[in-house]
């Protein structure tokens, strides 16, 4: 059994969904997503932690360009894959209270996107990676633009052009790597194994960084993000923030730094600085937001900035932190957006100043919101804690000052998240919030699942860390070995 | 007198090339500067004939008949072009009563 089944199942499901009626499509989509989850669980169960790639599929695709349909699961991508298969059914579940027009297309697009995302995460061939990267982009564009809010057309086009621009530069970088490597393939490991001059690597690094930075997004490439998150339908926002931005993080870990270590070596100080600036900047902006969804969007920039900084610091701790934080952030941010989805659906507004006192009459909702908020602010024993801790640790190894600045994310995050919680849930109830009814049915189910995940991972993260540990250690080690060899004559390079 | 004929016969190739280049340039300039469709068309024909001259000259200087055969092709296709081109010009004239290409500005140039 290879990962191709994992990739193609959602695709086929999407095709089937087009021909179904709206009501049936909803259930069918959930069914397929759960089947997908089960499949991935099967893979997880059979996965042997280690560095070698498993469940490999390796088919010739475009031989004249040395392109293979080459995908598999290893320690680096298992977490994002699990994240995807886990979150998609949850996201589908969150939409059950919505009545979308042409729901069959909507769910088909979500499943299509899932397929694209899985291609991105499993691909071991540069071309395949790129195709998945773009394939995931098309459906989310249509999801956002068709079912989104007022300004959706302009905003989503901006989003599309931004990300497409980034990815085209990545395409050039990939083609360049293809032409430069001696065996003329797009194979990832081939990319790892050959050497280019520092200048060439620098260019490739910049191209990759542009693509990934836009996707994550890292300051100053983030301008598309808050608008898009705000305008997209909730499910779209969840797909974007929960899974899609992990493409950037994952890409950096797998496709950027190990492929062009020397390029990375030249530019990473600037990149980290950008990431850290982004953290502080986004936190401050988040602080000022009145729209709850927008606030979460900015908080996401801040969190992702920290992940980016940790990756760019490039040490085992940081990368491991990034790994687990990818999962955590996905869960948390989906939870938060779902909370806001519920509020805006029930009350028709997301303005913090108009809300308040919801907690009084709605205990289920209050508890869930609290848990998710705490998870996001990284309270110990929630999932956020372990991730952020490792990330900060990673950055700290690189530079104490930066770590200190980056650490403000926890403080600032705590402040604005709790302020948000307070202004929504506590204080006096007003006419509007009185109408709020407690969560029921699928909403309650989703919130329970998310809260459970937050707590379980927070208490016992070890199995997840264990999944990726060997691979990460090896990857980090290889790159650092290359860099050390490079710096050996100059000596006196701090070992990371 | 004998010398005179020798000179006539041995006009250097470059002079022919120069002549056709000049004719060709006149044609090009005509196309670019004139606004009357017929005159433009005639300028184009001048360009083609400059080419024909040069082809014939090369053909003679290289003792290779294919150049002259090419002239035939050029003439035949120029004739076809004349037929179609004049028909188009007549059509335009019937609709607009003008063959000044400046009148044709419904579509932007």
């Amino acid at each position: 059994m290879t990962v191709s089944i994992l990739i193609f199942l959602p695709l086929l499901a999407a095709a089937a969904l087009v021909f179904l009626k709206n009501e049936v499509a909803k259930l069918a989509a959930l069914f397929f997503a759960v089947v997908e989850l089960a499949l991935s669980a099967y893979f997880l169960a059979n996965y042997i932690p280690g560095s070698n790639t498993q469940f490999l599929v390796d088919q010739s695709w475009i031989p004249q360009f040395g392109i293979y349909f080459n995908a598999g699961i290893d320690g680096i991508n298992i977490i994002p894959i699990m994240l995807t298969t886990l979150l998609v059914p949850i996201i589908i579940l969150t939409t059950f209270k919505h009545e979308y027009t042409k729901a069959n297309i909507f769910y088909a697009l979500i499943l299509f996107m899932q397929s694209g995302l899985l291609v991105v995460f499993t691909a071991l061939d540069g071309f395949l990676f790129y195709v998945g990267w773009e394939a995931a982009l098309i459906p989310i564009y249509f999801i956002s633009a068709l079912w989104g809010g007022e300004n959706r057309i302009k905003v989503t086009l901006k989003f599309f052009i931004y990300t497409f621009a980034g990815s085209l530069f990545m395409l050039i970088a990939l083609i360049y790597l293809y032409t430069q490597n001696p065996s003329h393939t797009f194979d990832l490991h081939e990319f790892y194994n050959f050497n280019m001059t520092a200048k060439q690597q620098g260019f490739v690094f910049l191209a990759f960084f542009l693509a990934f930075a836009i996707k994550m997004p890292v300051f100053p490439f983030h301008t598309w993000q808050p608008d898009t998150y705000t305008e997209a339908p909730s499910a779209g926002t969840m797909m974007l923030s929960g899974i899609m931005l992990k493409m950037g993080i994952y890409g950096a870990i797998r496709w950027m730094i190990p492929v062009v270590p020397q390029g990375f070596d030249q530019y990473y100080p600037y990149c980290i600085t950008l990431a850290v600036i982004g953290i502080v900047y986004a936190s401050i902006i988040a602080f000022k937001q009145k729209d709850g969804k927008r606030l979460v969007a900015y908080s996401s920039i801040a969190h992702v900035g920290l992940i980016a900084a940790a990756i760019l610091a490039w040490n085992v701790t940081g990368v491991q932190g990034a790994m687990i934080q990818m999962l955590n952030h996905g869960i948390n941010v989906v939870g938060l957006f779902f909370i806001w989805d519920i509020i805006s659906r029930k009350l028709g507004t997301r303005d913090l100043s108009q809300l308040g006192g919801i907690a009084k009459n709605n205990p289920w909702f209050a508890v869930a919101f609290l848990i998710i908020t705490l998870g996001t602010v990284a309270l110990p024993l929630t999932n956020g804690f372990i991730g952020e801790f490792l990330l900060l640790d990673g950055v700290y190894y690189y530079n104490i000052t930066l770590a200190a600045v980056a650490g403000t994310t926890i403080i600032l995050g705590g402040v604005y998240m709790l302020r948000m919680y307070k202004s929504v849930m506590q204080g006096p109830t007003n006419d509007l919030t009185l109408t709020f009814t407690d969560v029921t049915g699928t909403e309650r189910l989703v919130l329970v699942i998310i809260c459970a995940l937050i707590i379980v991972i927070g208490v016992y993260p070890q199995p997840i860390l264990h999944l990726s540990e060997a691979s990460v250690t090896q990857l980090v080690g290889e790159v650092n070995a290359k860099l050390n060899a490079l710096h050996a004559p100059a000596a006196a390079v701090p070992v990371k | 007198m004998e010398k005179f004929f020798n000179i006539v016969q041995s006009v250097p190739l470059n002079h022919y090339i120069l002549l056709s280049c000049i004719l060709f340039s006149i044609g090009v300039i005509g196309v670019l500067t004139r606004r009357n469709a017929i005159v433009i068309f005639m300028s184009v024909e001048l360009m083609l004939n400059a080419v024909n001259l040069l082809l014939a000259v090369f053909s003679v200087f290289r003792n290779d008949p294919s150049g002259q055969v090419f002239v035939f092709f050029v003439m035949a296709l120029a004739a076809a072009e004349v037929a179609v081109g004049l028909a188009i010009i007549v059509m335009v004239y019937r609709n607009t009563s003008s063959i000044d290409i400046n009148v044709l500005n419904k579509l932007k140039w």
Binding site: - | F5, V8, Q9, F72, M75, A76, A79, A80, V82, A83, L86, A87, V90, Y93
Partner: protein, 123 residues
């Protein structure tokens, strides 16, 4: 054509042209000098069978003439292609015959087409 004409062979033609031009120009000048010149407005109006001149003579004329001209251009060029063939006909033998028959068949196909299209009917 084995015989090659050189530029010299055309010299007499140039002489003849010069003579012709000389004759035409000379005669023109002679009549100009010899004839009387008594111009009146009526004499200089175009002849229109004695009645008042109506409009300009430079008016569009029947498209038929134009069509004939276009067809001439096309057919004449096709005919030109036959000259080298006709001159070398004996050397080319049977293949040449067939090839030219194909050429002429195409020509005829076009010819019959324009006939059927009534491009050459004058009414």
């Amino acid at each position: 054509m084995e015989v090659k004409s050189s530029a010299i062979d055309y010299l007499p033609i140039i002489i003849q042209m010069l003579v012709a031009v000389g004759f035409a120009v000379g005669t023109m000048f002679a009549t100009h000098a010899l004839g009387p010149k008594r111009k009146t407005a009526d004499k200089l109006t175009p002849f229109e069978s004695g009645i008042e001149v109506v409009g300009n003579a430079r008016t569009p004329f029947s498209i038929k003439y134009f069509l004939v001209a276009i067809l001439f251009v096309l057919f004449d060029v096709e005919v030109i292609f036959m000259y080298p063939w006709a001159v070398n006909f004996r050397e080319m033998g049977f293949t040449g015959l067939i090839e030219m028959f194909i050429f002429m068949a195409t020509l005829l196909a076009g010819f019959i087409y324009i006939l059927k299209k009534k491009a050459l009917d004058w009414d």
